[in-house]
Symmetry: C2
Subunit: 340 residues, 2 copies
């Protein structure tokens, strides 16, 4: 039976919602404030958490933060309840790793739909995590692919593909980190994507024109699996499940890119830098960021010198600390809430 933890300080809403959920055949735990919520989360390990944002003592962001500190509940879907469709709240919450938002007042259908979507996604993630399992959808073809596929190793700074070339592989990161970036006429670089172990890259081009408009480069020693275009084509043609996975990845990327677009257009230098730090934190899932200043500047879309100055400011404000070039994030909340 699916268990849900509901954290909400308003007793009326809490009981009402719990009732709806119980009727929908979920097992429901409730908590009346953030601290209690965190405790019950660790105690019961629910399949999904619904949490109000505005609460006394420990608010929703705080709860999310506490949970993410412990890896046990990293994969648990987290849905925020919020009073109004406050846009900036939404974005901040999403950046901190929330999966969905429900705005009060909500009706039962809306709530149940959102829960079902998240539960099914979580199951998907568990089932199909990484290379093997994605292709295991196409069990028959898996063995063939594995035997034929060759893996390449790339050293730090080595180029994987460049703009203008025809795409002939789908890449899968087995080890290390990779960036994709675009070069501006004036020589500046903008990083459009970061890839960690377990990520695919190059599929956009394969699905579109076939000619790269960006370039990929290893930012630390990396090992990639190369899946020939023909195999990829065959796989997505013969197997709608795989195609669906890729369409979801694309759609998710799309949303991220639009957020990035909005930020780069109108954010101040400080906010651009903060967002860059947060997006790397989210991508690589670490509080300690080890990345060259050039690359960090290219993620943020600002000049390297400006970036360095801003990092210095952040250090003085105790938002981060810097040791031997490594950036340690100290105050995620303030970074996310940074005003322009």
């Amino acid at each position: 039976m699916t268990t849900i933890l509901l954290i909400e300080d308003n007793a009326d809403i809490r009981e009402n919602t719990a009732e709806i959920l119980t009727m929908a055949n979920y097992k429901v735990f409730t908590a009346a404030d953030g601290m209690e919520g965190v405790h019950k989360a660790f105690e019961h390990k629910p399949d999904l958490i619904i949490c109000d944002i505005t609460m006394p003592v420990l608010d929703g962001y705080g709860v999310l933060h506490m949970l993410h500190k412990r890896n046990a509940l990293q994969g648990t879907p987290f849905i925020f309840l919020t009073a109004r469709a406050e846009r900036s709240d939404m974005r901040k919450g999403m950046e901190m790793g929330a999966d969905d938002f429900i705005t009060k007042p909500f009706d039962a259908m809306e709530l149940l739909q959102a829960i079902e979507i998240r539960i099914s996604k979580a199951v998907q993630v568990k089932e199909s995590n990484g290379f093997e399992s994605l292709f295991s959808v196409a069990t028959g073809q898996l063995e063939a692919l594995k035997s034929e596929r060759n893996t390449n190793t790339y050293k730090k700074k080595q180029v994987i593909y460049t703009a203008g070339n025809r795409a002939s592989f789908l890449y899968y990161v087995l080890k290390g980190k990779v960036k994709t970036s675009m070069l501006h006429d004036n020589g500046k670089e903008l990083i459009t994507g970061l890839y960690n172990e377990g990520d695919y890259l190059g599929y956009t081009t394969l699905l579109e024109s076939g000619v790269y408009t960006d370039q990929a480069e290893a930012i630390e020693d990396a090992e990639l699996a190369l899946i020939p275009k023909a195999d990829f084509d065959e796989l997505i043609n013969s197997n709608p499940g795989v195609l669906k996975r890729f369409i979801e990845m694309l759609a998710k990327n799309m949303v991220e890119k639009e957020e990035q677009l909005l930020g780069i257009a109108y954010n101040s230098l400080r906010k651009k830098v903060a967002d860059a730090l947060l997006s790397i934190h989210k991508k690589f899932n670490t509080m300690s960021i080890d990345i060259s200043r050039d690359n960090l500047a290219a993620v943020a879309g600002v000049a390297k010198e400006s970036l360095i100055r801003t990092l210095g400011d952040f250090r003085d404000e105790k938002l981060i600390s810097i040791k031997e070039g490594d950036i340690l994030l100290l105050d995620l909340k303030k970074l996310a809430y940074m005003l322009n």
Copy 2:
């Protein structure tokens, strides 16, 4: 039999390439310079055009421009030949409407592959143009959808959906123009997409989380068909062809968005404005742009006042003319070639 027009001033390359193409069972016309190329294009109406960029008298960009002036050859795939993988050239060409790039020296396989891809895409576009035909892939379900579907009319400035809401329809623009945009904390707006008659919108959200992160609004009186989410889900689940169409749309959007990202990050004001004009020109396929200054500024990602000043400069430089607020593009080439 598929006919190809090859425009290339270097006799060796021309003859060599023509030979390859002939062997691959295409009917080939050749032209030794831009003017001859344009004439032969109108004379023979080829299925595909391959054209060198650097040529005396009328260069490749000029050829493309001349062809696009006449609508007859608008849909004909156009592939550029270019000496090196010069990135900035690539982007300019793509902005002007080229479909692909091949960098010299190229081998036969590469050339033939690119041609085949373009030919097959052109056929696809012809076959499935607009609402009816996309869904005609799923012939059985088409009638049901048509009868059930309801159409809404929206007046200029009317909101279609807003951020934070759950997506429940796929929209299809029957008439009018629509924008999607995101709101920044400081109140500024960035337009992330423009939609014309025959475009779908809202599919990214349907394919991803189900909660809008952007908002849609009519920029002139518009009529939209609303396809319920359930129908859309069923259609893409039961019909891989439809899913594939959407994945291609997504992938194409993705590339556009990355270009926009690079531009907004590093372009000067002048170039941002020029790019905004060009992208609207390309989207709505008209030399005369009738759009509010606010919207134009939101496309470019700059302040309204800065935009207006820049338009004034462009007018003085005879790149555009302005009559009663309408902007008439006079010199596409210089706009595309604008340096920072």
